[in-house]
Symmetry: C2
Subunit: 163 residues, 2 copies
């Protein structure tokens, strides 16, 4: 999750997927949305499965409507556009969880990628070469969904592989 | 904590600072070194104070002798050299904790920098300009000290500021 979206996507009010909210309330009768560490980790793994399955119809179960990414108010539609754009640039994109550190409502993940971007990626002329790199990323959850993301991609690792 | 060291520094056997170990054992009579979340966070803040104070004599209280950084077996001496080199490149270097996510024995931190590298930094011609950027970094602790570090600096943020 790294490219800038083509432009700021207008917020598009929509019906909230209700199942995630109901699950959250069932687990937490106080309604405060403070998931346990185990539940937060399990939910994050489901989110990564959703990304790897390109299951955009269910993205709203894991990502809040007013999600922010590196300070930008993308909203759910903009977040989905960002991910779809990632898959266009990197047809073999796959998110692999290498490390998880959860402390509700926050979670940090070290993600690993072993992929083949088709053209330029992060401004680098990858052009179909295979590269491996990591993303270190923090999330803040609210009512069981991702509300804010702070992500850094290891661009230097890719530069080193391009020589 | 980002530049490559000048070379691999030979391991230099030394007496272990014993106070940190004793504290750990006192807190955890089982001797497994599994600090509580609160203790881990407090210890990490002390480590950051140690860096900001350039208190290299006490670095071994927080960093293990066989520490690894982004897969490189730096050892404590190499780690110290890396930090001293950071301060040479960036005389006004200061580590600011923006976010902590602790789940012993691991901790993730989002660090913020607002600094003035003197010359090139990460291969970029900063040359005395003031730049702000983040580091997302994971740590694994062992017996109360940092055993392994996985760090990514937001190079793209610096590039964007240099225009």
């Amino acid at each position: 999750m790294w490219p800038e979206p083509a432009g700021k996507v207008a917020a598009n009010p929509r019906l909230q997927p209700i199942d995630g909210m109901i699950q959250t309330i069932r687990r937490h009768p106080n309604g405060q949305g403070a998931m346990s560490k185990a539940n937060l980790e399990a939910r994050y793994r489901e989110y990564i499965d959703c990304l790897n399955g390109r299951d955009w119809a269910n993205l709203g179960r894991f990502v809040a409507d007013d999600v922010r990414h590196n300070g930008r108010p993308l909203a759910l539609d903009g977040y989905r556009s960002m991910l779809e754009n990632d898959y266009e640039q990197i047809p073999d994109l796959r998110f692999e969880i290498e490390m998880l550190v959860a402390d509700p409502p926050r979670l940090a993940a070290r993600l690993r990628f072993d992929v083949t971007p088709e053209a330029t990626f992060l401004g680098l002329p990858v052009n179909g070469r295979r590269v491996t790199f990591h993303e270190n990323v923090f999330y803040e959850m609210e009512s069981g969904r991702i509300r804010e993301v702070w992500s850094i991609i290891d661009k230097r690792a890719i530069e080193a592989q391009l020589g």
